[in-house]
Amino acid sequence: MSFLEVVRFALRGLSANKLRSALTMLGILIGVAAVILLVAVGNGSARAISERIEALGTNTVTVMSAGRGGAESTALTTGIAGALTDPVLAPDVASVSPVVSASASLTYEGAEHEVTSFVGTTPGWFAASNTPVGSGSAFTADDEAQGRRVVVIGRTVAEELFPGVDPVGEQVTVGGALFTVIGVLAEKTSTGFQDANDTAVAPLTAVRQVLTGYGALTSILVEATSPGRVDAVQSEVATILDQRLGVSSSGSAAYRIQNAAQLLQTQTETADTFTTLLGAVAAISLLVGGIGITNIMLVTVTERTREIGIRKALGAPRRVILTQFLIEATLLSVLGGALGVAAALVGSSFEIVGVKPVIVPSSVGLALGVSIAIGLFFGSLPAGRAARLRPIDALRYE
């Protein structure tokens, strides 16, 4: 008795009760589709997060003061920022941008808008922080040196204050002083919960004069010559800062150096946990589908007890009966699994809760493999029961 023959018997058995077979398959279909799709959603959001972090620039490190309220000894100053541009001690540093930032409200012709981060910096910041200007222009080193009151605003600010108007050339009031809008930043994808487009950038000198005063810098953005040199830059910066700030031991650091690559890693780990969690929830529905198969196959075996008796009386060996029912169960799960993969592939072309799902190929293989295993595992109980039936009992069964 060839294997193909047994498969034919199994197919005939399944097609005898099409609705029941279809519904059982649906259970596996939903399970498999859920696993693949939810893992894809998790993966898609992880991908989106890492893209955003990469957009921040992976070849920069940010130095922030760890001290409280700009205490004398640990405050970051423009002098320290200047010291970082040292071709001997820090050969891998491409540019250094001192940054001050504060929240401020911008007003234009009676309209008011609160900006969460009004940034004062040097022109090098635009390139280092990967924040290109969309329309108009950035301010120049000369603007910075002269303390000219010019500002480049983010997309959100432009939309809030200048609906339908070209903001370039207009004047806004910030902290009682007039700033001329000279450009609008290109749209940027947001990192985390903050709107990256709700910002305004002005020369460091002007911002200090108007808003923040001449205290400590908020942070210093240091750009490496290449992404591969970020770690070198980090240690070089640390050396200079230790010297400058007079940190004796590594005890309590007076500053923090944040590296986009590290941030990326942390975020990726978080996203992976999230993905695993989603996958686990979906796996439960796959398990439920598997139990559905056992249930239906048990019903089928009971219903076909007489048929099993006839087959045995005609000389069907135990192995053939076992194989037939195992194949029936496995076909249910495999067909359900394959349809589930198809459903997941279709579903992944849509955006789900704001995330574009990215299918993980291994999750497809895994889900299919698990569905085959489910068929074999959950089918073995009813199939074993069918194979063990004594022909005389099976034939008497009504």
Partner: protein
């Protein structure tokens, strides 16, 4: 004297234990020669169905030996028992027991499929068997499209398609009207004339009268064993 096709000695069968013990068979010894046509009669509860199930290797005796074509069936393991049912016995049931939603020809092919015969050869032999019972034109019909008599003839075709040493029929006409009974009995007559060994059980006298040998069973014992027609000249097993 050639070896008998069927040779049972001191067969007993006990169901249940303690108070509920039922002695279905109390020592049945019986030998059936090749080409014989034997009818076993008895009232209900006489143990004839139990005997039939044991002869068909569907059930095992409590004690005694059962030689089928020289093979001791009572000592076979499950796998060989399946083989014996497939190769040595053709079983015909009172309730026809065709597989539902499966065409007549597919039903007849089934034992050949379990025997591992190739599809083309299988189809040819199944059609030949259906031809023999006069149902070649109904090959594509499913059981529920056939009359009782036709279903039983399909079942007969299924039983003889593997060329078994022994055809066993358990009240083959029990569920049939008189015309269908006549059709089926004619098929048995033909098969007997062609040299087949047939053992059937019945409670209808007109069925028993057509057999060559009539055995009466009562309370698990053989009470009479009467030859109604001369024993056939032993012929080859595959002379049909």
């Amino acid at each position: 004297m050639t070896r008998p096709v069927l040779d049972v000695r001191e067969l007993t069968k006990v169901y249940g234990t303690g108070e509920a013990t039922v002695h279905a068979l109390r020592g049945v010894s019986l030998a059936v020669g090749r080409g014989d046509y034997v009818a076993i009669m008895g009232s209900s509860g006489s143990g004839k169905s139990t005997l039939m199930n044991i002869l068909g290797a569907l059930d095992v005796p409590t004690s005694g030996t059962y030689l089928l074509d020289g093979v001791d069936v009572s000592r076979l393991a499950d796998r060989q028992l399946a083989l014996a049912r497939n190769r040595l016995i053709g079983f015909i049931f009172q309730a026809f027991n065709l597989i539902p939603r499966t065409t007549a020809v597919a039903n007849v092919e089934l034992p050949l499929a379990y025997a591992g015969v190739r599809p083309r050869e299988r189809r040819r032999r199944a059609m030949a068997a259906l031809e023999l019972v006069g149902l070649a034109d109904r090959a594509r019909h499913e059981p529920n499209q056939l009359s009782g008599g036709q279903q039983q003839r399909v079942a007969v075709a299924r039983a003889l398609v593997t060329e078994p040493a022994l055809l066993l029929a358990d009240e083959p006409t029990g569920n049939l009207d008189s015309r269908s009974t006549e059709d089926v009995l004619e098929v048995f007559d033909q098969l007997s004339a062609a040299g087949r060994t047939i053992v059937l059980i019945t409670h209808e006298p007109e069925v028993g009268d057509r057999a060559h040998r009539l055995i009466r069973l009562m309370d698990g014992r053989i009470v009479t064993d009467r030859r109604q027609r001369p024993a056939p000249v032993p012929a080859g097993r595959h002379s049909a």
